[in-house]
Every structure is written in C-alpha cells, then in structure tokens.
C-alpha cells in the first residue's frame, strides 16, 4: 500500500495516533517515551505506531507532516506536534484542553 494512504488510514481510524520509536509499553527513544507518558498521564486511549518496524513509514510520516523528527502526535487527523510542543502544551494545560475541545476526554 502507498505510504501516504497507509498514514491517512491510521489517522482516520484512530482519534489519537502517536507515531513513535518503539511501543507505548517499550519506547525506544526518550522523546517518544516522554510523549507516550504524557498521554498515559492524561488517561488518553491512543494508538501507537512503531516507525522502527517500517522504514517506509519512518520516512513517510516525516514527509507527510513536513516535520523532521519522531514522535509525532495526530488528534482527529490534525498534526499537533512533536515532543517539545506536546510537553509545553501539557505543562501549560493546553493539551488537556485540546483533548476536551476535540471531545476525546
């Protein structure tokens, strides 16, 4: 399947979709772990996609979002940001608000 189509399916089928290195239970990068922990802390049910299992996807998601790093968080098909933005939003309470506004929590 075309990688863009695959990404579109993933973010359409999952309201909260985190592209990360490793899995939510076993992250393989500190930045991915940080975002995964923030989502767990907010009790968000999310789909994690391990880009290390798929080289096409690892590059594909960077091209799709025009964003050079992993992790990347999508909420209802919208790109929210990478690790720095998510952490900053969490600390300011903006992330919780975003999930509330998007009717996730």
């Amino acid at each position: 399947m075309d990688v863009n189509k695959k990404i579109e399916n993933l973010i359409s089928e999952n309201d909260v979709c985190l592209f990360m290195k490793g899995t939510a239970d076993a992250p393989q990068c500190g930045f991915s772990m940080a975002v995964s922990n923030v989502l767990k802390h907010l009790n968000i049910n999310f789909k994690s996609v391990n880009v290390l299992e798929d080289e096409n996807l690892r590059q594909g998601i960077k091209d799709y979002s025009d964003w050079p790093t992993i992790p990347q968080l999508y909420v209802k098909k919208e790109f929210i940001g990478g690790c720095d933005i998510i952490k900053e939003m969490f600390e300011k309470g903006d992330l919780k608000k975003l999930f509330e506004d998007k009717k996730i929590i």
Binding site: K62, W67, T69, F79, G81, D84, I85, E88, M89
Partner: protein, 76 residues
C-alpha cells in the same frame, strides 16, 4: 555524526537575523542539544510553524547529522 554548537547557532541566526539563541549541549556528546530561540518573526505564528522555521534554518540537518535538538520558541 555530531554537530557543533556554534554551527547550530549560526545557521539559526542566518535564517532568523534578529534571533536570540541559547543552546545547551545536554549530554556533552555533540548530539543532544536544547535550544531556546527568541525572535520577532515568530509573532502571530503557531508553535508548529515556529518550530518548522527553526528546523528549516538547519537545512535538513535535523534528524540526520543532528540527532536530537529540543526546541523552545518565544516571540519578542
């Protein structure tokens, strides 16, 4: 591959001429940095746009030569 702190700073300043750039080498390995960038050009832009401006200034090095750069952006 590693990248020099001064090189990161000068690339960012080349793209955002009024920027104040503070960089820390987090692990002392030339590979994990944290940068706080303050610029007037960030005003009215979303965080995603602001971070993209910093990434773009690094001309594709982010995610390649530069493994980890944590970014904080602030308007002036």
């Amino acid at each position: 591959m590693a990248m020099d702190l001064k090189e990161i700073e000068s690339l960012i300043k080349e793209a955002l001429s009024d920027a104040t750039v503070e960089i820390q080498d987090l692990a002392g390995d030339g590979n994990h940095y944290s940068a706080t960038v303050t610029s007037k050009e960030f005003s009215g832009k979303s965080k995603i746009e602001q971070h993209k401006m910093v990434y773009n200034s690094l001309k594709g090095k982010m995610g390649n030569e530069l493994h980890a750069l944590s970014i904080t952006t602030e308007g002036k």
